[in-house]
Every structure is written in structure tokens, then in C-alpha cells.
Amino acid sequence: MEVLAILIPVSLFLGLLGLGAFLWTLRKGMYDDPEGDSQRILDPRYDDKPKPVPPEDDPR
């Protein structure tokens, strides 16, 4: 049972990591336009290279 002493902190850490990732995506506005994002994946415009991000052009 000593293994629990490692496993529980590890599982909690992984949980927090997932939560952190979720909050990050939320802050980056990735859930603002689900409809549009599902269409944008078919858009060939940025297939070769990513869209140049203008500095500080963070929506809100």
C-alpha cells in the first residue's frame, strides 16, 4: 500500500495539469466559436505555414 503515497499525489497532479490546460484554452478564447472552428479545419489557407500572429492580437 506504500505505493499509494506516490500514486495519489501523481493522480492529483495530473488532474490539476488537465484543469490547468482547460483553463488556459478557455482564456485563449478557444470555445468562443465552436461552429467556426469546425469549419476552419477544412480551410486550406494556412496548410503550408501557420497564420502569422500579429503581436498582442489576442481577442480580448
Partner: protein, 727 residues
Amino acid sequence: MSLVTIRPSACPACAAAPAAEAQADHAEQPDARLLLSVPAVHCGGCIATIERDLADMAGVNSARLNLTLKRLSVDAKPGIGAQDIIARLAKLGYEAHEMDAGIISMTATEKQGRDLLMRVGVSGFAMMNVMLLSVAVWAGAEGPTRDLFHLISALIAIPTVAFAGQPFFRNAWQAARAGRMDMDGPISIAILLTLIISIYESLLSGAHAYFEAVVMLIFFLLVGRYLDFRARAVARSAAQELSALEVPRATRLSEGAEREVSVADLAVGDVVLVRPGGRVPVDGVVLSGQSELDRALLTGETLPVFASEGHVVSAGEVNLTGPLQVRVTAAGKDSSLHRMADLVATAESARMRYTTIAERAAAAYAPSIPILAFAAFVVWMYISGGDLRLSLNIAVASLIITCPCALGLAVPAVVTSASGKLFRKGLLIKDGTALERLAEVDTVVFDKTGTLTMGTPEPTNLGAHPPQALQVALTLAEGSSHPLSQALARALRAQAVVPVGMDAISEIAGYGMEGTWQGQRVRLGRADWVGAEPSDTTAAYLSIGGAIHPFTFADQLRAGAAEVVAALQAQGKSVRLISGDVPAAVQDLAARVGITDWQAGALPAEKAAQVSELQAAGHKVLMVGDGLNDTVALSVAHVSISPASAMDAARAASDMVLLGRDLRPVADAVRMSGTAMQRIRENLWQSGIYNAIFVPIALFGFATPLWAAFVMSLSSISVTLNALRLK
């Protein structure tokens, strides 16, 4: 994240004083962010077309289209205004409106949505972790291991409840202070009580702790809240779109000088100038000038009306041919437009009192939760002879099992699914209760001009005229912006008719076009001016020398008009047509779309009165209309739909807006609202049945945390799946 932290500060010192920064920002804003509503976008192609085109436009830094909200945000250099973008989009074939006033409240809405989503996420992750520990306990962990797991669960659950449960606690507190009891009251009691008992049990190394049930309850309820919120956010953005439309302005003439003023600033006795193509801003009397007025939006008449000195004009009419000077007789609160707005407001507040099925279910169900738990506590205290711990445990088990997890999802899941499907078909639901009201409809009342028809005339008898007459007509018609002339020119061009050479072409405002062709005078215009016998259908008259050629026009049928009438009749709804137009035109159209019950020449007040009468007789009326004359009827009706091309006031007064040109989604919406209501009822029954089965188990003291978790997830998932079954 707040606005202040992301935005690059103009001066670093300002960061400490947000107000000062906001001011500085206002003064020297380098680039403007424009927000436009583009209702017609619907696919990935639209995104690519619009963004690519705007990226090439000079002065535009970047553009991003939000397809969910059908909203375009443009980052542009100072010289670029919304008008430039709108013109550019018009060239691409997209209609756009600037949104301005809505920006502040929109960020508030988005913040609220993000806030809810964050709570959903936090409770979701907490649920997963607590469940991991609980499964170990259920699998047979005992003694110190179980206690340790319970305590770790408590460490996760307590902050989660404190953070994610806030929306429920806040609502419950507000309701309690106002002396009301809503669903959030019992929910908050259940959450807090269960949490406290569970902590107490874990500290005393008891066998059962309900941490996962508490967190799961919060998670499912928040998902329901979030769905509900999204549906309302889309509705709210539609309402903003309407209110953010142009501020009504007028051109006031004072001592020979023209000045642009807000309509609100006009006073009785002022003189305003109404240019051709402009809308009459106030009620008044024509002082000078002559023209024709399009009153279709106000009265439903398709024929333009002649106006010159001394004629009375009403706000909302469109001036067609010549400039008019109008002396204001009623402005602001007294104008006919404003009176109509008042009627609408009254009718709408009456509609606000509609109680939805969810509210009725909650009102019936909410009190039973604490009563049942309390009864269980008292009865078990008696049976066990005062065993407080056992009685409390059973009370908590029945609390958590009766708590309406599925009830919170039952309605929003269906409404979200239905409105999403209708939105994809081109129907925007503005009001949350509209779908439910639509399901009760048994009578459908249509307006004619602009609703069943496109509101644009089409020539009907081009074949009856000699080729030369057609050529002359085209030459004259091309010089005018009158709607009949434009329709005639368009139709003749489509038939490859070529214009002839002509001298001295001029437009006589309010009468028609005149010219000289092969030495004789030719005229295209009103019957009395040309010298023809007027007929009762819409027509323009061409005279060449003495010969008269009447061109008759009919309003073009909106796509899907006949199908929608047939489909509604097939669904057993009675369909009526009430129009302000002349009988001949209405009869003709009624025959074309298959409506037998029609009425012509109805004034705006009569339309509303007819709708009220029908409702007084026990019918539930769906009103479909677009004009100012329909506005009151739209707001009086049980539920209402207007096309996107409708007047702002009409769109604002209606519950749903048709985004496309096709009328067919109306029949789909009526059908789908029926199915949606059926699903909602099924869902409510489902969650009721789960309770009927598991509440006795809890009351007899057999319920374990495993049961609670099982019931909760099973009912929530089955309710959601049932909602997705909607076709």
C-alpha cells in the same frame, strides 16, 4: 481575464489606474476594432471568402469571423470606418450591420459564459478525481485507507463546492431574501448539507461519504445552466443586433441651412428635408416638393402613393422620387411610430408573464425535496430511537437522490438541440420560451407584402407589347430609381432588349419619366399624367404619341411560400392571410399560395385586433409579418416570426427571425417545436420515474453513495441522449 491586463498599456504608469488608462486609450486609440453583424454567413466558405477579401483591403490589419455568433471583428487603421467594410462585404454579397452599442454588454455576456464554463471545468475535473478515489472505496478499501481516501476527497470537494457552487448559492440567497423558493434553494441545501455530513462522517471514519455525489450534482447542473445560457446568449446577440442598428437621424432645415440632427431632437414646427430614397423620420405635412411615397412597410400597399404640397405623411414611409420638405406635426413620443412602439411594449410585457414548462415543473417539485428529506429524518429518528447519525445519513441520501440533476438538464438540452437545428436551417430563435409557445399554435396568420411575397414588383405582361414599345420603355425606365422603373428595366435587360436613342430625357418627380423619341413625346409613369385609364392592379403606363401601353406588375412570390402554406395546412393548422393591400392583389396572391381565408385593406390596428380576437376565441396564433403595420399584431400574437428583411421594429417585436429568403423553415419550426415539447415532457417523466424508483430505496435506508452516483449519471445521460434524438 480582464480587459486591462492584456491590452498593451499606453504608459506603464497607467496600469495602476485602470480608469486613467481607459481614458488615455480613448484619446489616442491607434487602431479601431470594428464589430459587424453578418447574418448571412453559414459555412466555412463564407469564412474564407470574407477573411481573405478583407485581408487584401487597404487599412485592414486583420479580420476574424465568428461563425457561431455570425459576427465579424475587424482590426482596422483609423481611416477605415464600418461603412467601408459594409460596402466591401456588400460587393461580396453579404449584408452587414455595424454593432456598436452592444459591445460593452457583449463582453459582459461573454465573461459570464466563460465564467460558467470555467466552473463546469473545475467541477468536472474535481468529479473525475474524487470518483477515482471513490471507486477504490466502493471496490472494498477499508479502515485507514478508506478514511484517507475520504479525507483526500474532502480536500478536493470543499474548494470545488466553494467555487463551482457559487451560482446556485447566489440565486438561492437572492430568492430567499425575496421570500421565494426556486429550484436553487433545495439544491443549495442539498449540496451544503451533504458536504457537511460527509466531512463529519469521514472524520469519524464512517462507511459512507457522498463527496463524489455532491461534485457530480454540481457538474451536471452546471452543464444544464451553461446550455441554457448559450441559448439565451445567441438570443441576446440577435436582440443587440437589432438595437445596434442605425440611430434615426433627420436633416433639419433652419434658415436655409441643413443640419443633421437626431430624430429625438426634433420639435413640432421644424422643417425637415427628406431626400429620395430616404425614410420619412416624423409625422408631418409636405410644405414643398412632389414625389411618390412607398408605404408598403407601414400599410402593406404595394402601389406607391403620390405626395405633394399639403399631403400628410407618416413616419416610416419611404420617399421615392423627389426631395420633400416636411413640416413636423408630431415628433418623439407623439408620433405614430412611437405610439406603435408603446403598444408593442405593452403587448410584450404581457407575453413576459408566460410560465414555461420548466418553471412549472420546478415550482411543483422544488418544495418536495426538503420536505421529503426532513420527513425521512423525523421518521428515522423515531424508528431508531434517536440515532441522530443514522437519521441524518438517510436524510442526506434521500436529499441527494431527489435532487433534480436530470430535471436541470431536461429542458435546456432539448431547447439547445432544437434551436441549433433550426439555426442551421436559417431560423434564429430570439426568445427562450418561443419554442414552447410555438408548439401550442393552431392558427397561422400571414402578412402579404414582404412576407409571402418578396416585396419587389415584377412586370407580368411584357409579351403583350410591340418590340419598339419595349425599347422605349427600357430607355425611359433606366433613368429612374423608382422601384417599378427599376423592376421594368431589369426584366427588359434580362430579355436582351436594347435601349433606343432619345433626347431630353427627364424625370418629373412624383409623375414619371419623359423624353423625345423620333420627334414625338414619350412618357412612362402615372396613369393620369400619361393620359391613360387607371386600372386597379399595380401598373406603369407608357405613352408614345397618343398610343398607351400599360405595363402591369405583380409582386414576386417568396421562395417556398406555397409549400409552407401547404405544409402548415397538412399539419392541421388553419392558415389566414391579412393584408393592408387592395382586394384584387390579395385575392390573386391567396389563390396562388392556396389560402382560402383572406382579408384585404386591414389597417395596422385592425390586424392586431383580429389577432387578439382569434386569441380571445381560444386560438393560439402564430403571426408571420415584416412591416411596421404588422408590428403590433406580431407582439400581440402568441408567437411571431419575421423575415430578416423586415423593418427593425417588426424584427424586434417578433420571437424568431428568418435569416434566409426561403419561407420553408417556418413549417419546419412549427413541426419541430411539437417534437421538442414531446421530448421535454418525456425527459421530465424520465427523471420523475427515476425518482419514483430510487427515492423509496433511499427512504428505507438502503441507498449508498454508489447508488446515488449511479442514478445521477444514468438519468442525466438518458435525458441528454433523448434530447439529441430530436430530428
